[in-house]
Amino acid sequence: MKAGDSYILRSVATLLFFVVNVFALYLLLRGHNLPGGGFIGGLGCALSFILLMLAFGVEAAERILRVDPVRIAVAGVSLALLSSLLPVFWSAPFLRQYNGKLTQVPLLGDVAVGTPLVFDVGVFLVVVGVTTKLIFVLARSVGGLTGLSLGERSRYAGPLETPIEHGEARPRTDGEAKP
């Protein structure tokens, strides 16, 4: 996708990017007790990056994000898995969640904290990573770029993989199994 050439769009997108992200984090943090949560927050955050992409082009948006979104998603799954596994180490069941309350925090008053938030952050990261990656790849492809940049290709594909339409060509396995 080519960068839009509207100054207004770019300025508004830059401003909205921060507003949307603050809102997304707000949704994430209050999720346990008020409407919100990791999934909604993640979608909001992903949309903010898509907004940037529409205004500045895919490559700029990827630069701003700095890491491959799939890595963000993997980090999210790992975080969720880790937070569910941790209780196992002190003989509590898998996925046990703990909740507590901090009283008299300056500016905020009573704050409820708990491990569900860690799990929710994992979900948040997965949603951000997955949504942005898919849209970025599609957008690149629409813009006539390769779906993945050259550096990424080696991460996602083996040397044997061929385009799917290449008939019945089977992967090279060298039937000669006896040495």
């Binding site: 919100g36 996925l95 708990g114 990656k133 599609l138 492809s141 993989e161 199994a177 006896k178």
Partner: protein, 813 residues
């Protein structure tokens, strides 16, 4: 505690070695030695603390609700295998440090995999719960996959690794099924309980089925017929891996499993017939294939298959009162086969080839190696003075005893073992003579270099063990008494002697050696080099073509179902849905679903207004001519549904809906931009398409409308079961300490579902990215870069390469 440390240390070394490897390069091997040394020391301490014949259980809670805890069972059998694993680990890592020189890359990764494997092996042999054992069992398969495929740039390496993973993994699943059935029959998966409590009559009926399934797992792991073909193909791994995994330890897991479940199943009717028929058959087949192979590693691999057949079959013919001197046969095989594999690695390293047809005459250049090889080969052939001889004497004695009082095919073991032993003598001679005797080829001598002491150390030690314990078998026998295991082993173990006098075993043994030498003398020279493995026995090719048939089948099905017109895809999906759900509704009678009376006064005017707006927007989707307009109408539907959620006071749903709506709208816009301009006009002008497709469309749409209405109405009817939602609403504060029930359901009550869902999301993304990346475009297209504004379409330069589904729009332009 010592035991837990012994198992944990290799796992702790995995990340350490991986990271250290990037800094230290080949020298990381010397750091890696610490892990097996520490484990061995801890296991020896455990052994010294344990009384013989005792069964100690260590237990830590893991998933108590599933009856799955970290249970470790320490008895003679597990300690024996544990010490074999860690002791061989020490030797193999020392050997690897010499073998993996700077010609190789990724040393850290290699030793990390080795440590992972060692930890998994120790976990398997010490597991005190069958489910836990299965987890570690499969982990050894994964580590083996990584190690076989370590030289991943080599295509045969990759296919060998894949074959090993598929065979051991799928047979492992059969084993899991067997474990589950056994667990259902006995009511527990705990090994100690299973071993010591007699099974009730109800459970006995299922024993045979459970046993067959578990035996499949053992056969797969130990490369028994018909799974024997993966082991020779696994020889693509670096030689230390072959010596460690594929001769000394991992392939012995099948033997271990059979020994482990011996007390449970030895009374089962199928125990002897199945184990003996398969294993002794494999023994002969393996020995035959070993004689027909020319690659030194393939010879050793097939001879391993053969020997494993013997070890498993041995338990098959043991009386249920207990096995005798089984550990002797196992340790003997560990000694000589580990040694021979390491020797082959050295030959490969020094001479640059391991093809028996090209080797020869190395005896004068590598005298030390020749002596080591001769000793190990003598042990393999069972010549006096080595552990092989002792093992063979007791093995033949057992066979003669079985002939005397066995109840199933009494002659079978003796005949098979004798034939296999003759072949074994022949190929043992061939290895020694083929490598070290005769005349050397100049091209082999050209780049011959001597092995260093660190390469020779481990095989020399193993060969020394063969001789020392072969000459003084009493020492070995005394050592093995520490590993006496109740229920598995017979009460009285025979004492080991070197000389039994002129017995029938000795005479048969003599005859075997003579016959084997004669066989080799007949075949020697050119004739043996011309031998080939007949195509009928090349199971690996059959397996490979079977594996490759899968993508072919998938492609066929895809080709049959796929359509070039987007219209057809939803038609197929929706028609299937209509058939299944509509058929179900028709079978229960749609009239019964309709409400008996409708209370018109309860209808909220605002909601009714919203629904009316949604209906108008839906009509617009159908009526509007262009997709841009249709899309806008569709998103209006989505946002109105959001509003409808708000009216029902469901803010979470509304927020999710509005964000999903925005994201999917962008996604669809991006996708449509990919289409050529002609598609924007749509199929409206194409009269051929309008007629019957339009009719079908109306039919499907009407059918879907009716079915979905019925489903909705049915959902509104009063239900007999209490809805689950009430429980969650009530307990969200007391149990999950959160006031947002939607969120507490997601992260707490149904947290496991969410965890799996996000994992699926990630997997789906990776799949989608892979598919998108494999979308074909020509090189010139890539080179051309961005192709003008979105929606302008893409024209392929080479018309012969154009995809069929792109032809339509391009022609109509």
């Amino acid at each position: 505690m010592l035991l837990l440390l012994a198992i944990l240390i290799p796992f702790l070394f995995v990340p350490l070695l991986w990271i250290a490897g990037t800094k230290l390069g080949a020298r990381v091997g010397w750091l890696a030695v610490c892990a097996p040394v520490a484990s061995t020391a801890l296991l020896v301490l455990t052994l010294l603390n344990a009384a013989p014949g005792e069964r100690v259980v260590w237990e830590w809670d893991w998933i108590p609700s599933l009856g799955l805890n970290l249970v470790f069972l320490v008895d003679g059998l597990s300690l024996f295998f544990g010490l074999v694993v860690s002791g061989m680990g020490v030797l193999v890592v020392i050997y690897s440090a010499g073998y993996l020189d700077d010609h190789y890359a990724f040393h850290g990764r290699f030793y990390a995999y080795l440590a992972l494997f060692m930890g998994a092996m120790l976990g398997t042999v010490f597991a005190g719960n069958l489910l836990l054992m299965f987890v570690f069992w499969e982990l050894t398969g994964i580590a083996s996959f990584l190690l076989i495929g370590f030289l991943h740039t080599d295509a045969e390496s990759r296919s060998g690794a894949r074959m090993a993973l598929l065979v051991t993994g799928s047979t492992g699943l059969a084993m899991l099924a067997g474990i589950v059935i056994l667990g259902l029959a006995a009511g527990t998966h705990d090994l100690k309980a299973l071993l010591e409590q007699p099974m009730n009559a109800d459970g006995r009926e299922k024993l045979n089925l459970a046993f067959v399934l578990m035996a499949v797992g053992a056969f797969g792991k130990s490369a028994q017929f018909p799974f024997h073909f993966w082991l020779p193909n696994a020889m693509r791994a670096p030689t230390p891996v072959s010596a460690y995994l594929h001769s000394a330890t991992m392939v012995k897991l099948g033997v271990f499993l059979v020994a482990r479940i011996f007390p449970i199943f030895s009374e089962a009717g199928l125990w002897s017939p199945l184990l003996m028929a398969v294993s002794f058959g494999t023994m002969l087949l393996g020995a035959l294939l070993a004689l027909l192979s020319h690659d030194l590693k393939a010879v050793l691999a097939y001879s391993t298959v053969s020997q494993l057949g013997f070890l498993i079959g041995f338990y098959g013919m043991s009386p249920s009162s207990g096995a005798q001197s089984d550990l002797l046969h196992i340790i003997n095989h560990v000694f000589y086969k580990g040694c021979l594999f390491m020797v082959v690695g050295i030959i490969d390293h020094s001479a640059g080839t391991r093809d028996l047809r090209h080797l020869g005459g190395l005896g004068a250049r590598l005298p030390m190696l020749a002596v080591i090889t001769a000793i190990a080969a003598a042990a393999m052939a069972g010549l006096p003075g080595t552990t092989g001889f002792i093992s063979k004497e007791y093995m033949l004695k057992a066979k003669f005893d079985y002939w005397g009082d066995g109840d199933f095919a009494a002659w079978y073991p003796l005949v098979m073992v004798t034939l296999a032993s003759v072949l074994k003598v022949a190929f043992s001679l061939r290895i020694v003579w083929g490598v070290f005797g005769g005349r050397a080829r100049p091209e082999v001598l050209a780049d011959l270099h001597r092995p260093g002491w660190n390469l020779l150390f481990a095989p020399a030690l193993l060969a020394a063990a063969c001789v020392v314990f072969g000459l003084f078998p009493g020492l070995l026998g005394q050592g093995l008494t520490h590993f006496w295991t109740p229920l598995l082993h017979a009460q009285v173990q025979p004492e080991l002697y070197l000389w039994h006098g002129i017995t029938r075993e000795f005479l048969l043994s003599l005859a075997i050696v003579v016959a084997g030498t004669g066989l080799y003398a007949v075949l020697a020279g050119a004739r043996v080099n011309a031998l080939r493995i007949p195509r009928v026995l090349a199971f690996d090719r059959l397996f490979e073509s079977g594996v490759e048939a899968f993508p072919l089948l998938a492609k066929r099905i895809t080709a049959a179902l796929r359509s070039d017109r987007p219209f057809d895809a939803p038609a197929i999906v929706l028609c299937t849905f209509l058939l299944v759900v509509g058929g179900f509704l028709a079978s229960i009678g749609p009239a019964s679903l309709l409400p008996t009376q409708v209370n018109w006064e309860e209808i909220d005017p605002l909601r009714a207004f919203c629904v009316g707006l949604i209906a108008i927007a839906v009509v617009l989707v159908v009526v509007l001519p262009r997709w841009t307009g249709q899309l806008i109408a569709l998103s209006i539907v989505g946002f109105l549904v959001t509003f409808y959620y708000v009216l029902f006071r469901a803010p979470d749903l509304a927020m999710t809906q509005i964000l999903v709506e925005a994201a999917t709208l962008l996604l669809v816009l991006l996708l449509l931009a990919r289409f050529p301009r002609a598609a924007e006009i749509g199929e409206a002008n194409d009269t051929r398409v309008r007629s019957w497709r339009g009719a079908l469309g109306i039919l499907v749409a009407a059918g879907m409308g009716i079915v979905m209405t019925l489903v909705t109405v049915a959902a509104l009817n009063p239900r007999s079961a209490a809805p689950a939602g009430d429980y969650y609403l009530k307990s969200t504060v007391p149990l999950a300490h959160g006031t947002n029930a939607v969120n507490t359901i997601l992260v707490d009550f149904r947290g496991f579902d969410t965890l799996l869902e996000v994992t699926v999301l990630l997997i789906a993304t990776l799949g989608a990215v892979g598919l998108l990346m494999r979308y074909r475009r020509s090189a010139s297209e890539y080179a051309a870069g961005p192709m003008g504004p979105a929606g302008s379409g893409i024209e392929l330069e080479d018309p012969t390469e154009s995809k069929p589904d792109e032809k339509g729009p391009n022609e109509s332009r």
